[in-house]
């Protein structure tokens, strides 16, 4: 999911939880609505949409899953795609390690709810923020996502949309996320890798192009690190 813009400013300790999560709510409610709407239109019940946002709680992965479950892909393929799409989340916890809540429930819930947006809000909190406050903030953010999903699912189960192409929101979301990852890139190589991997995969196995392309990109990523594809750009990146 795209990061919210308004969360990078210094945050006075007195700021209410609500105002801290307001920028996230502005993004999560509409984007959650889009997820709920599309998932229901793809044939899931509103309850399943709600459960997805409670149990999975990962925006881009949830969007990705819609066409995958609609095509009835194997669970292992979807799990692998989820692993790859969310791998960046490993590195969020690392930078919050010292300030994270210690209590069992607070700690593991906050870890569970560590989305891009929650991470970006948590990094702006002062060091002495009470753990309970961090966990509450994470919970409020998830509430916005779940609320949006519920609204979208309810609308989606009532309305039959006559317009072609509305599911392009998914494409547009991925375009936005690609732009944001491009902005933060240390090398252009991942983008070219993806394009070549997808061209190869759709030539070799058109029905499983995405899964195969993800696997090829993972292999290329490891290979690039090992220096097999060693280039100046990569050596710079390894610093």
């Amino acid at each position: 999911m795209p990061s919210s813009q308004n969360t990078s400013q210094a945050t006075p300790a007195s700021l209410s939880l609500f105002s801290l999560t307001a920028p996230v709510a502005m993004g999560y409610i509409p984007l959650g609505m889009v997820f709920g709407f599309l998932f229901v239109q793809a044939g899931a019940s509103w309850l399943m949409a709600l459960l997805a946002s409670i149990v999975v709680y990962a925006g881009a992965a949830q969007y990705m899953m819609i066409p995958m479950v609609a095509a009835g892909l194997p669970i292992s393929t979807i799990a692998l795609a989820t692993l790859l799409i969310n791998m960046r989340h490993i590195f969020y916890g690392l930078s919050l390690l010292d300030s994270f809540p210690r209590g069992f429930l607070l700690r593991w819930y906050t870890a569970f709810a560590l989305t891009d947006e929650t991470y970006s809000v948590l990094t702006t909190l002062p060091k002495d923020t009470p753990p309970r406050r961090m966990a509450l903030l994470a919970l409020l953010n998830q509430c916005w996502w779940v609320l949006g999903t519920l609204l979208g699912a309810l609308i989606g189960s009532q309305a039959q949309v006559p317009l072609d192409g509305l599911d392009f929101v998914l494409c547009a979301l991925f375009a936005v996320l690609t732009v944001e990852q491009w902005r933060a890139r240390s090398s252009p190589l991942p983008l070219w890798t993806a394009v070549i991997a997808y061209a190869l995969a759709s030539a070799l196995a058109p029905d499983h192009a995405l899964a195969l392309a993800i696997l090829l990109s993972l292999i290329a990523g490891v290979a690039a690190h090992k220096g097999v594809l060693g280039s100046k750009a990569l050596k710079k990146e390894k610093r």
Partner: protein
């Protein structure tokens, strides 16, 4: 859609996602020291997002006979808007609106 299948998919996705988010709290030491993981952390996000973009765009283009032009136009517009405005909601809504117009007016 079969609810049992959906539930199994969602549980698997939830477990994988939670595992990734919780990993640093279990093995920060290993992660901080593994250069491969550090490298993949920088390499994969852009590659995966680009893959999802290409995949969803080419799937959309296969659903009609007008060629890939509506997809290309709308994606270029979305990317430009996002690059300039950094406002995801604006970029997504505008890109989708243009795409819907292109697909329904011909």
């Amino acid at each position: 859609m079969d609810n049992g299948y959906l539930l199994a998919v969602m549980l698997a996705m939830g477990a994988v996602t939670f595992g990734l988010r919780a990993l640093p709290f279990l093995s920060a030491h290993w992660l901080r020291r593994s250069p491969v993981m550090q490298h993949l952390g920088r390499f994969l996000p852009l590659a995966i997002m680009a893959l999802l973009l290409v995949h969803s765009a080419s799937s959309a283009a296969r659903e009609h006979s007008a060629g890939p032009w509506p997809e290309l136009l709308a994606i270029v517009l979305t990317c430009l808007l996002q690059w300039r405005s950094r406002n995801p909601l604006l970029s997504i809504v505008a890109g989708t609106a243009v795409y819907v117009l292109l697909r329904n007016w011909h």
